[in-house]
Amino acid sequence: MTGAANWEPTAALAALRLRARLLTRAREFFAARGVLEVETPVLGKSTATDPHIESLRTSVGGSARFLQTSPELFMKRLLAAGSGSIYQIARVFRDGEIGARHNPEFTLLEWYRTGLDHHGLMDEVDQFLQEVLGSAPSVRESYGQAFERWAGADPHAAGADELRSRAEALGLPVFSSAGFSREDWLHLLMAEAVEPHLGIDRPHFLYDFPLELKALARVRRGEGRGPDVAERFELFVLGLELANGYHELGDPFEQRQRFLADLESRRTLGRAAVPIDEKMIAALERGLPRCAGVALGFDRLVMIAAGAGSIREVLSFPSDLA
C-alpha cells in the first residue's frame, strides 16, 4: 500500500481539472465583488490556541515556528491595518486529522467582509455556492432549532447528564463517558445525530451557537428574549461540514481572555502549550473594523462537486502517499 512503487495520484485527472475550474470560479466571484486576494505566512511564531486543533512545529534558523492551522490571525492583522474586505486560498496544516473527510494538510478558502454581520455573510456564502457550485438557494435556522429537532434537547440549557441520556436514547454508545464535558456531548450529538440530516436537498446554515462553542465569534446577550449566544454559523452540504464563520470578535481584552481560557483547556487536556499571538491582540487594540469572516474547506467543496465519498478522490497525493 505505501510501497515506493505506489506513485500514482489518488485523484482522477477529471477531479484535478474540476478543482482547477472551481479555483478559477472562486477567484472570479471575489474579483467581481472587489474583494482583495491576499497571501499570509504559513510559518508563524504563534498559532491557533484552539484546544482541539494541533499545530505542526518546525524551525527557521533554530527559532521555533508553527505551520498555520488557519490564516485567520494574520488576516485580522491585515483588516486592522485597513485592508478592507479580503480573501485567501490558503494551505493549512492540522496534525492528526486523517480520515475520509480529513487530510493533515488541506486548502481553506477564508474570507472577511467589512460592514457585515454573520447573517450578511451567510447571504454571500449562499450566493457563492449558487454561482460556484450551482447549488439551490440555502435554508437557515438556529443551532438550537436544529439540535432540538434531531437530538431532542436544548443545547443552550441542557446539562451534561441530560445530553448523555439523549445520546444513549439515540443509540450512540460511547466507550467511556467519564471524561465527557457538556461541550463534548454537544459535539458528539451534533456530529452523529444532527449533521447527517443537514444539507441533503440544499445547503443548510446553522447560526447562533451555544456559548462554549463561541471560538472567536461575538457574544450576543439574550436579555430576556432568549439565551446568550455566539454569533457563529456553520454550513452543511450533504451532511458535510463545509464552512464555519463568525461575526468577528473585535474586543482585545475579551480576545486575550479567550486565548487564556483555551490555554487552560489545553493544559487540562494534556496538550502542549502554544504562545499567544500578541501581534494579533495589538492589531485589535488598534481597531478591527466590524466584520464577519468565514473559512470554507476547499477540498470538501471539490468533493461535493465531484460526488466523491472520500477526500482522497480529490487530492493529488494524500498524506500517506506524499
Binding site: H52, E97, G99, A100, R101, G179, E183, H187, E241
Partner: protein
C-alpha cells in the same frame, strides 16, 4: 501485561478487549468537528458471540489489546464435556467447550489437524481442516448403475455429520468432504 492501543492506531483487523470480551475492529472512522473534540466511531465483532458492536471513542483514548494466537493443533479425543487438543510442538494440551468448538465438531476425527484460536490461552474457536476424509456409517442402499451421481440422498458420517451424497455411495465407504460448505467432494479409494 497486554498491549494497549490508542485511537490513532485503530484499524480493521486489530484485536482488542471490549467489555472483557475479545473483539476484532471491523471499521474505524475519524469524526472531527472543525473546532471540536475529535472522535473515532468504531465497529467491532465480538469473537466469542460474533455480535457486531459500535462504540464512539474520544481521540486519544486507549483500549486493551486482546491476546489472540492461532496455532495448528491435533485433535485428541472427547470426554463427556470437553474436546481435547494438543500442540504437536510443545505437547501442551488444551480443552475446548462445545460452545467454542461449535460446528467444527461435525468434522473432527481423532488426530485431525485443526487451527485452534486461543484467547488468554483459552480456546476461543476451532477451525477444522478444509478437507476431511470420513467414513459413512448410515445411508440407504446404493444403486449400482447410478455412477453418474445424478440425484442424491443423505448419508451419516462417523462424526455424526449428515451430508448429501450421490446415490451409489455405500455404508463403509470413505468420503472426502469440504468442511467450509459441508459438501461431498468424492470417494477415497
Amino acid at each position: 501485561m497486554s498491549t494497549t492501543y490508542s485511537t490513532n492506531q485503530f484499524r480493521s483487523g486489530l484485536k482488542v478487549t471490549l467489555d472483557n470480551d475479545p473483539c476484532v475492529i471491523t471499521d474505524a472512522e475519524f469524526v472531527k468537528p472543525g473546532k471540536g473534540q475529535a472522535f473515532a466511531r468504531v465497529k467491532f465483532r465480538n469473537l466469542k458471540t460474533n455480535r457486531v458492536l459500535e462504540r464512539t471513542f474520544k481521540s486519544g483514548e486507549t483500549i486493551e489489546g486482546a491476546d489472540i494466537v492461532e496455532t495448528a493443533m491435533q485433535y485428541l479425543y472427547k470426554d463427556g464435556e470437553y474436546w481435547h487438543f494438543m500442540d504437536p510442538k510443545s505437547y501442551e494440551q488444551h480443552q475446548a467447550s462445545a460452545e467454542s468448538v461449535g460446528d467444527a465438531a461435525l468434522w473432527l476425527k481423532e488426530n485431525a489437524e485443526c487451527i485452534v484460536t486461543l484467547h488468554d490461552n483459552i480456546v476461543l474457536q476451532v477451525t477444522p481442516p478444509m478437507f476431511v476424509e470420513l467414513e459413512v456409517i448410515e445411508t440407504e442402499p446404493g444403486i449400482r448403475g447410478d455412477t453418474a451421481g445424478t440425484g442424491g440422498k443423505t448419508a451419516k458420517l462417523e462424526t455424526g455429520a449428515v451430508v448429501r451424497v450421490p446415490l451409489f455411495i455405500e455404508v463403509g465407504e470413505k468420503l472426502k468432504l469440504d468442511t467450509r460448505t459441508g459438501e461431498y467432494v468424492g470417494r477415497v479409494k
